[in-house]
């Protein structure tokens, strides 16, 4: 009832407490409302399932010419379900879509509208990360299930199928399903750091797909770097080269899972650090 009443009504705002889940929901609306999202998902699923089917069909057709030992152990069954070329495609799609989730806002300037609506910049990046992580875990699992079961359905005709409960199969499935969210989060983090669409997608593809090729398997330091690559971690987790440990070049299962955790974690940490300090 004092004279301050007028000034307080002009400035005091009736506002519900801020909830992080609202930001996640907002980011989900953004992803859902772009027509490109479902297209990418359908395309990736088709490519991966198609490649797995082709690989399994090749082994199905060549089966009679295999040695008795190969026919008994059918070591190709797991590799047919998770072919490298198919999962390199998954990596490419996921890193690109993850990058676009952040970069498209910088490119159009929408980030300024977003930041005025939500001045808590770090929370926006985290909400985007949650949406991309969940989306790509679902898509990655779907893709991995499709490629696994299509390949096994074909191989079962030669009695060479494996089940998800088989040794290594579940781990290979998990590694293949989680490859997509790992790459999407790396792309998302790079997008915040680089802010330019083409550069981000090229940089993301380079570090995830091309960089592993640069390291030799002979020099110890080079091997350490090679084992720290996401692509190599996936190969260690999803594919079986042979029983002796030297075949894996020192890469361990635990170490490979650590690589899966560290890449997105570092990318996100850098993004959060930078986004708070930089002008939008």
């Amino acid at each position: 009832m004092t004279s301050t009443t007028t000034t307080t009504t002009a400035t005091a705002v009736d506002e519900p407490p801020a909830r992080f889940l609202d930001l996640v929901a907002a980011e989900w609306i953004k992803v859902r409302s772009l027509r490109s999202t479902p297209w990418v998902i359908v395309l990736v699923t088709l490519v991966v399932t198609g490649v797995a089917a082709a690989r399994a069909l090749a082994d199905y057709n060549n089966f009679p010419s295999y040695s008795a030992l190969t026919r008994r152990d059918h070591p190709f069954s797991l590799g047919d379900a998770f072919p490298a070329e198919a999962y390199l495609t998954v990596m490419l799609a996921a890193v690109a879509v993850g990058a676009i989730a952040t970069v498209s806002e910088y490119g159009s300037g929408l980030i300024r509208t977003t930041t005025v609506a939500v001045p808590a910049r770090g929370a926006v990046v985290l909400a985007k990360a949650v949406v991309q992580a969940v989306l790509w875990t679902v898509v990655g699992s779907l893709v991995a299930l499709c490629s696994f079961f299509v390949a096994q359905a074909i191989l079962s005709g030669r009695d060479a199928a494996i089940s998800l409960g088989d040794p290594n199969a579940l781990r290979a499935f998990a590694a293949s399903a989680l490859l997509a969210p790992v790459c999407a989060l790396v792309g998302l983090g790079l997008g915040v750091l680089i802010r330019h669409s083409a550069t981000t997608v090229v940089a993301g593809s380079f570090v995830l797909l091309l960089l592993p090729v640069f390291f030799s398997s002979r020099k110890p330091l080079s091997v350490t770097f090679a084992n720290a690559m996401v692509r190599n971690a996936w190969q260690r987790l999803a594919q079986i080269y042979g029983t002796p440990p030297e075949a894996y070049n020192g890469a361990t299962v635990a170490g490979s899972w650590t690589v899966y955790v560290l890449w997105p974690l570092v990318a996100l940490a850098l993004a959060l650090l930078v986004v708070r300090r930089r002008d939008v």
């Binding site: 009504t9 002009a10 705002v13 506002e15 801020a18 772009l34 300037g109 509208t113 001045p119």
Partner: protein, 312 residues
């Protein structure tokens, strides 16, 4: 209430905003004027916490805007209408903004109706005209029903009907007790919209006063005289210490006199038996006051404006 104090932004050795201080009060429309490159957008971006100032502070409603976890209920802002994703519909764009701020989804249809975009609600923004995007940006600013509204060049790209509508909207928002702050590089736009002006040039404050006070500041107050004996009158007035220049096209016998009041000019003409057809006090338009005051601080001077402008 917007308060800016000693705000400074430097990019390398270039100073975009230079120790700028001003206050924008609620219940009025305040125009933020300056030539292109004067630092208007940079100032607004610092106000909204998008850019960090090199020095100085700015507050909205008493606190730095960036301290709010969610912004739409505090400030509605339209910086650049093109800053949207062309692939989304108007509803999805506003829906995402509303959801993040915990604003009910029903509010989206309300603001779309308010700006006249109900018909276009489901269409992709990429197909919108600039005028429609401006309306969409204004709708986004209104979502949170905020006490403070900021618009950067809101009239760009709008058709005459849109301009009229938006002026009415600004006046109404101010009448509701809100703080309305809008930038423009066109003085004429402000003449019919704003109550108060903040004028800057090269990042420095030139004036912060009411529109009327600002117009009165022009030194180019002159008297228009129409006479068939312009040669004689010219000589008489020049001798009396006035400066005279032809006004309008060469065949029109009108001259603009500065330095002498109208009554003195009339008396001189009477003494020298010079016939007058017209003797009019001419107050400088807001545009002229603006041009004059910012002439020393225009960032990108074109050849033509350079000739017409004042010497530095």
């Amino acid at each position: 209430m917007i308060e800016v104090s000693e705000l400074t932004k430097r990019y390398g050795d270039k100073t975009a905003v230079d120790h700028l201080s001003f206050t924008v009060r609620p219940g009025q429309v305040t125009g933020f004027l300056g030539p292109n490159g004067a630092g208007k957008t940079t100032t607004m971006r610092m106000l909204l916490g998008l850019d960090a100032p090199t020095a100085g502070t700015s507050t909205i409603g008493g606190v730095p805007f960036r301290t709010h976890p969610r912004g739409l209920r505090h400030v509605g802002a339209l910086l650049d209408a093109q800053q949207v994703h062309g692939g989304r519909s108007a509803t999805a764009h506003l829906g995402a903004l509303a959801r993040g701020n915990r604003i009910p989804a029903s509010r989206v249809a309300e603001v779309l109706a308010e700006v006249g975009l109900t018909e276009a609600a489901g269409r992709r923004i990429g197909g919108f005209s600039l005028g429609m995007k401006q309306r969409l940006g204004i709708a986004a600013a209104l979502l949170g029903d905020p006490p403070v509204l900021m618009f950067d060049e809101p009239i760009n790209g709008m058709d005459p009907e849109g301009v009229l509508w938006v002026r009415g909207l600004f006046r109404r928002l101010a009448a509701e007790g809100r703080t309305v702050f809008l930038s423009s590089h066109l003085m004429t736009e402000m003449e019919s919209t704003a109550d108060q002006l903040v004028v800057i040039g090269q990042g420095r404050l030139i004036a912060a006063e009411s529109v009327r006070e600002f117009a009165a500041r022009s030194t180019r107050f002159s008297v228009l005289v129409a006479t068939p004996q312009s040669g004689e009158l010219r000589a008489v007035l020049t001798a009396a210490g006035a400066s005279v220049e032809r006004h309008g096209p060469p065949d029109a016998a009108r001259i603009a006199v500065t330095g002498l009041p109208a009554e003195r000019i009339g008396a001189l003409a009477f003494e020298h038996r010079i016939m007058l057809h017209e003797l009019t006090n001419r107050t400088a338009s807001l545009e002229e006051a603006f041009m004059e005051l910012t002439a020393g601080s225009v960032e990108y001077l074109s050849g033509d404006a350079g000739k017409a402008g004042q010497p530095r």
